[in-house]
């Protein structure tokens, strides 16, 4: 499933979507950035409540397919624009991390 398809199927909002056709291969949930870099796989959708600029760097380095901010969290000011520039997809979910992941497990 692509990031764009996920966005449509779960009716997620978009903070940045420079690579809508990027394929999602799995899911990783976490807010501690070193854990994300240590454990997330390339191509995962990364679900978090962290909203600061560092998520763009972490998503770039870990090569995740997209970041999903859960619990209705909005990105900090400037993060959406930075993500567009760095080629990082960021979607927004009003649901919690668990519910978002459960919904995704039915699609992947």
């Amino acid at each position: 499933m692509t990031v764009s398809e996920l966005k449509d199927k779960l009716a997620l909002k978009v903070a940045a979507l420079p690579y809508p056709e990027r394929e999602i291969s799995g899911v990783y949930i976490g807010d501690l950035l070193s854990w994300v870099m240590g454990r997330a796989n390339c191509g995962d959708a990364w679900i978090t409540i962290m909203s600061n600029k560092n998520i763009a760097a972490v998503a770039t380095l870990a090569d995740t397919a997209c970041v999903i901010l859960a619990e209705g969290v909005e990105p900090d000011e400037g993060v959406g624009a930075l993500a567009e520039e760095k080629g990082i997809n960021i979607l927004l979910s009003d649901a919690g991390a668990y519910d978002t992941a459960v919904a995704m497990s039915k699609l992947l």
């Binding site: 501690l32 950035l33 070193s34 870099m37 560092n54 760097a57 770039t60 380095l61 760095k86």
Partner: protein, 141 residues
């Protein structure tokens, strides 16, 4: 043997939210060189962890990346407080990061363990009150 290609970056100790610029740039440079994506991922993550450490603990420093025939070498050097007990610092979960840093998602005590995990060689030289020099290598072949 041909001369190693090298990149050098100054890591700004004041600007925490833009930390990672050097690692992201290295990722780009290594991509242009056509290195294997998994090698690039390991190099750039190990470097990012080191870069963040220099910003959190040492007020910045210098990062140098050399691309040799058999490995990519990352050298991180700072003039921060140094590491009193390297063995303790290497333990997963051990952290001296302040709360402000933790609230940003760092300071989980996984930085040095991740650097070790993602590299084939890692050496830490540190003197309390003088600074720290970390050398890491990721094998290409």
């Amino acid at each position: 043997m041909s001369e190693a290609l090298s990149f050098r970056f100054s890591v700004d100790g004041e600007n925490f939210t833009s930390a990672g610029q050097a690692s992201v740039q290295v990722k780009k440079n290594l991509r242009q060189l056509g290195l294997d994506p998994e090698i690039i991922r390991r190099v750039s993550i190990a470097m990012y962890e080191g870069e963040i450490n220099m910003v959190i603990h040492a007020g910045g420093g210098v990062a140098e990346v050399k691309v040799a025939e058999e490995f990519v070498e990352i050298i991180l050097e700072d003039h921060g407080p140094g590491i009193a007990d390297i063995e303790q610092a290497m333990q997963a979960g051990f952290s001296t990061a302040p709360d402000k840093i933790r609230s940003l998602g760092f300071g989980a005590g996984m930085g040095l363990p991740n650097m070790k995990r993602y590299t084939d060689y890692m050496d830490i030289e540190s003197k309390v009150g003088e600074g720290t020099r970390i050398t890491m290598r990721v094998n290409i072949t």
